[in-house]
Symmetry: C2
Subunit: 535 residues, 2 copies
C-alpha cells in the first residue's frame, strides 16, 4: 500500500479553489426538481439523497479524483483481504490485520480472508448450538428453568454497538426474552440494572477482548457477588466473550466461552460474537444472521470506485468536503426513528475513536483536520431541542438524516390524512429543505439564512438486514475517510494516558485509605485529589 | 436594561490581545499544587475546579470586566424580578417576562416576583392535594385500585428536563411507582412504551404549554385509543399540564389539570408543573420540593458579581473565553455518573435552543459567534468511546466534567484498595489532568500534546437538592452567556420554517393518499417526496 499525505494530493488544490466559492443552495432554481431527483444513489435497500449538499458536478469530480488519488478503494480491498493496516510505519504499534468484514463474509465461497471467515463460521456454529441448547432445555438454571434475561457486561465497543443494535431491533425480540447492559464503572449503573431482576433466570455475558478491562472486570465481580448473595452459582450463569488466551479465557469460570480475535477492533466488533451472543439470545440466531447478511451486502457494494454509485464513499467524500474544505468541525447524525436512538452514540465512538488522530501512517504530524465531532439525537425530538441552533446559530452543522418509510410495530393512525410514520418522514424532508433553502423575512428574528448542508439516507423498514447494512455503511464511511486522511483508523493510543494517571491517583487514594499517610506530595495528581476533597 | 454589542465591549479588545498568547497548561510548573487548590469555587454544595482552563489572573480580570461591562448580573436580577426580557426591540416578538426562577422562589417571603411565585405556590398546592388523594385512595382506577405508573407525553422541554431528572433520581422512587416517557411522533416510540404495560393502573400526563404541539397531540390520541381498546375510560386516566385557556385546558377530558405560564420557556420548565406532576408522582412531593430548594439556593447564589465566587458566572465566562477567543466550536458535558446519563441531552436543548441565535436584542446580525454545539455522554463510558479524539484529535473540545464523591445506591465494593465510586472520580480527575498536561513520547503515536482545557464540578452525592442546584447552575450559565452575547436566549423562531415546510409536504402526501392526483408540481417539496419514494 502506498499512502500519500492528504494535503499533497493534487485534487486537494483543486477542491480548495472550488471551496472559495462553493455552490449556494439558496440560489433561485438551484434546488431544482431535476437536481433533487438526480442527486440520488440506491444501493442495498438504501437511498442516499444528497441534493442538499453544497456540491455541483465540478466539486463531485474533484472528490472523485481525491478518492482515486488517495487510493481509498484499493486500501479497502486490501483491508478485506487481510493486509496489516493497523500500524504506524517505523513505530511500535499494534501491527494487526483489520478484518471485521470477515465476521460477516460467511455467505460467499471462498471468502476473501479465508482463515478469519473460517473462525467466524466456527464461532457462529458454537453460538447456534448454544442457543439451541437453551431452546431445547439442555441448558437451564439449577431448578431446570429456562433463562429469560441476558445482561451484557462490557464497555466501549463491547457495549455501544450491541446496545444500539438491540434497541434498534427490540421489536423483533423473541417472546419472553430480553437483554440489558451494564457498562459504567459507576456502581449505580449495575445497581439500577440488577434492581428487581430475577437473577436465577438471568445469564450474564461478560465481554472483553483483552480480558483485563477494568470496568468490565469490576462489574463482573459485582454481578458475581450479587449471584452468590442470591444463593446462585456464578459459573452456571456467566458466559464470556474474549480473546483466545486472555485471562478471561477460563472454562472453569464460565458456562460457555466465545472467542473474538485481535484483528477486529472493539468499535467494529458488533457483528462478531461481541454482538452475536446477546443479540442471538434476545432476537434469535436467524435474526443475527440476517444482520450479518445485510452488513455483508454493503461490504461488497462498497467496493465500487465511482463515488456517484457508492453510498459510503459518497458520504465519506461529502464529509471531507464539509470538514476540510468548508471548515465545519462537527457532524450531526439525526435518525428519524426512535429505535435508532442510540445509533448516534455508537457512531460517535466508531468515528471519533477511529479518526480522532494527529499523526499520519508514517508517524508525522498531520497538517490537516482529521475526524470531526460526531453527535446526534433522534428526530422529531431534536426538532424541539437543538434544531434552533442548526437553523439560526452561528455554528454550521452538516446533518445526516436517516429515515424509514414504514414503521416497525405497525401500530399507527391516520390524523389529518397522514400516518404518524408519514409525519415523521415529512418532518425529516422538511428539515433538510429548510436548512438548505432558508427563508427571507422582514422580521430579522424570523429570517433563515439557509445554505446549510444535509443529506438523507432512506430505507423501507428497519429490519435486521437493513440494520446490518446501515451499520456497515457507516463503518465504511469512517474507514474511507481515515484512508483519505492517511491516518491509522484502527488504533486508540489516545486512551492510554488517562489510564496511567487514573492508576496513579488510585494508588494515592488506596494508600490514604490504608492510613499510609495521605502521602501529600507536590504532584498535580495529589493536589487534584486534595482540591477535589478526595484525600 | 441597556445591552451593548458583545464586540463593542472594551474588555473584548483586551481579551483578544490575551488570546494571542494564552497560558500554556503544559508549561513546567504551571499546573502547580497552589494553582490547583486556588482555582476553586465552593457554592451550594458544589465545588468548581478550573485550574485546567487556559486562564491566568489577567485573563480572569478581563473576563470579570467583560461580565461587568455586559451587565450580566444586572440583567439577571431584572429577569428574576419580572423584566420583559424575551423580546427583540422594534420587531414583533414574544414580549414576555422570563420567570422560571419564580417557580422555585416559594421559600422566601416576600418572593422577588410576587405574582408568579404565588401562582407557582398555588400549583404546588394543587399537586400536593392530588398526590395526597392518590395516596389516600381517593383517586383510583375504575376497580378502586391505585395507579403505579405515570406516562409523561410531551416533547422537547416537556420531555428532556423531566426525563433527565427522573433518571437522575430514580434511586429515590417511591415503592411501586414508576414513570415512563413518550416523546417522538415515531409511532414505534409509543408502541414500545405501551408494550406490556398494565394500562388500567397507569396515569397519562399530557404536557404541552400551547396545547397544540403536533407530536404530543398525536401521541395523546394514540394513547387514548389504546385505553379505549383496553376497555378503559380515557378521562379517568389522563392528566393535563398546559397553559391556561389552551385547547387542552378542558376539565371534561382530563382527570386533573395543572397550569404552566407563558413566562416560563419549555427548556426552563422542569421545575414547574411540567416536571412537578410526574416527578411528584414517582418520587414523592417532598422530593420535588427538595429539588426546588436546591434550585432556589443556586438562584440566589448566582447573584454574586465576583466571577471568582459565582460558579455559573465563572463557567459562562470560561465558556466565552474558549468559544469566542480561543475558537473552540463545541463543549462536551461529561458526567461521571450513570444517573446523569440524559442530563447532557437536556443541556443540549437548554443551551443550543437558547443561544443558537444570529441576531442581537436590537434585531441586528451578530458579528461574533454565539452558542456552541453542546454534546456529551457519561464517563467512564466515554473514555472507551470518543475520548481518543479529545486527547489526540485535531478538534479541541473543552470538557466539563461532573462528579459525585459518593454513590447513590450505596452498593459498592473494594477492589485493589478502592471502591468503584473512587475509581469513577479518580478517572475523571485523571482525564482532566491528561488533557491539560499531555505527555511527550518517542513514539509519535503515544504523544499527547496536552494544553486542552477542562473544568470539574463536584458534589458529595446526587440527591434531589443537589440535582436542583445543578439544573439551576447550568440554566444560569446559559442565560449569562446569552446576556453577554446580547442575544435573546428565550425565543425559538428557528424551529418555525421546518414546521411550515413539513405542513406543506404533509398536505401533498394527504392529497396523494386521497387520490387527488399526486399533484406533482415543480416545487422542491414535491421533488423531494418523489425522490424519497413517498409519492
Amino acid at each position: 500500500m502506498q499512502f500519500r499525505d492528504f494535503s499533497d494530493l493534487p485534487a486537494c488544490g483543486r477542491l480548495r479553489e472550488l471551496a472559495a466559492d462553493p455552490p449556494d443552495l439558496t440560489r433561485p432554481g438551484f434546488l431544482s426538481p431535476e437536481r433533487i431527483r438526480s442527486c440520488c444513489i440506491s444501493s442495498c435497500g438504501f437511498d442516499l439523497l444528497y441534493a442538499t449538499q453544497r456540491v455541483d458536478e465540478r466539486v463531485l469530480d474533484g472528490l472523485q479524483e481525491l478518492a482515486d488519488q488517495a487510493g481509498i478503494i484499493d486500501a479497502f480491498l486490501a483491508m478485506k483481504a487481510g493486509a496489516v493496516l493497523n500500524r504506524i510505519e517505523g513505530c511500535e504499534s499494534e501491527n494487526r490485520q483489520v478484518l471485521h468484514t470477515a465476521s460477516r463474509d460467511v455467505f460467499s465461497d471462498p471468502p476473501l480472508a479465508e482463515e478469519a471467515s473460517a473462525r467466524a463460521r466456527e464461532q457462529l456454529e458454537r453460538l447456534r448450538t448454544f442457543l439451541d441448547d437453551l431452546d431445547q432445555g439442555r441448558i437451564t438454571n439449577h431448578r431446570g428453568e429456562s433463562f429469560h434475561t441476558m445482561i451484557q457486561v462490557g464497555i466501549g465497543g463491547s457495549d455501544l454497538g450491541p446496545r444500539a443494535l438491540y434497541l434498534a431491533l427490540a421489536s423483533l425480540r423473541r417472546s419472553g426474552r430480553r437483554a440489558c447492559f451494564i457498562a459504567n464503572v459507576d456502581p449505580d449503573d449495575a445497581a439500577s440494572v440488577l434492581d428487581g431482576l430475577d437473577l436465577s433466570r438471568t445469564l450474564v455475558n461478560v465481554v472483553s477482548k483483552s480480558g483485563t478491562t477494568l470496568e468490565t472486570r469490576t462489574n463482573e465481580q459485582l454481578v458475581r457477588e450479587a449471584l452468590v448473595r442470591s444463593g446462585l452459582e456464578p459459573s452456571r450463569h456467566l458466559l464470556a466473550v474474549t480473546g483466545k488466551g486472555s485471562p478471561m479465557d477460563d472454562p472453569s469460570r464460565y458456562r460457555a466461552t466465545f472467542h473474538m480475535f485481535d484483528y477486529i477492533g472493539g468499535r467494529y466488533s458488533a457483528t462478531s460474537m461481541v454482538g452475536g451472543v446477546t443479540l442471538g439470545f434476545a432476537l434469535g440466531y436467524e435474526t443475527f444472521v440476517e444482520l450479518l447478511r445485510g452488513a455483508h451486502a454493503m461490504d461488497v457494494a462498497a467496493e465500487e470506485r465511482d463515488i456517484r454509485r457508492n453510498i459510503p464513499l459518497m458520504m465519506a467524500m461529502l464529509g471531507i468536503w464539509n470538514h476540510n474544505f468548508l471548515g465545519m468541525p462537527t457532524v450531526a447524525v439525526l435518525p428519524y426513528s426512535q429505535a435508532l436512538a442510540r445509533f448516534p452514540a455508537h457512531l460517535q465512538q466508531c468515528d471519533m475513536e477511529s479518526n480522532g488522530k494527529s499523526i499520519t501512517r508514517q508517524g508525522a504530524p498531520v497538517r490537516w483536520q482529521t475526524g470531526p465531532v460526531v453527535w446526534g439525537e433522534p428526530g422529531t425530538n431534536g426538532q424541539h431541542a437543538f434544531y434552533q441552533l442548526l437553523h439560526q446559530g452561528t455554528e454550521i452543522v452538516p446533518a445526516e438524516f436517516i429515515g424509514l418509510r414504514n414503521s416497525q410495530y405497525g401500530v399507527d393512525q391516520l390524523v389529518a390524512g397522514t400516518t404518524s410514520q408519514q409525519k415523521l418522514v415529512a418532518n425529516m424532508l422538511a428539515q433538510s429543505l429548510a436548512l438548505a433553502m432558508g427563508r427571507p423575512d422582514d422580521n430579522p428574528a424570523r429570517r433563515f439564512a439557509g445554505n446549510r448542508p444535509s443529506l438523507l439516507l432512506l430505507a423501507d423498514r428497519l429490519t435486521a438486514r437493513t440494520m446490518g447494512t446501515l451499520l456497515a455503511l457507516y463503518e465504511h464511511k469512517i474507514v474511507f475517510q481515515g484512508f483519505c486522511w492517511n491516518i491509522n483508523s484502527f488504533d486508540q493510543e489516545g486512551v492510554q494516558l488517562g489510564k496511567v494517571l487514573a492508576g496513579r491517583l488510585l494508588e494515592t487514594m488506596a494508600a490514604a485509605e490504608a492510613g499510609d499517610g495521605g502521602a501529600e506530595d507536590d504532584s498535580p495528581e495529589s493536589a487534584m485529589l486534595v482540591a477535589a476533597g478526595m484525600l
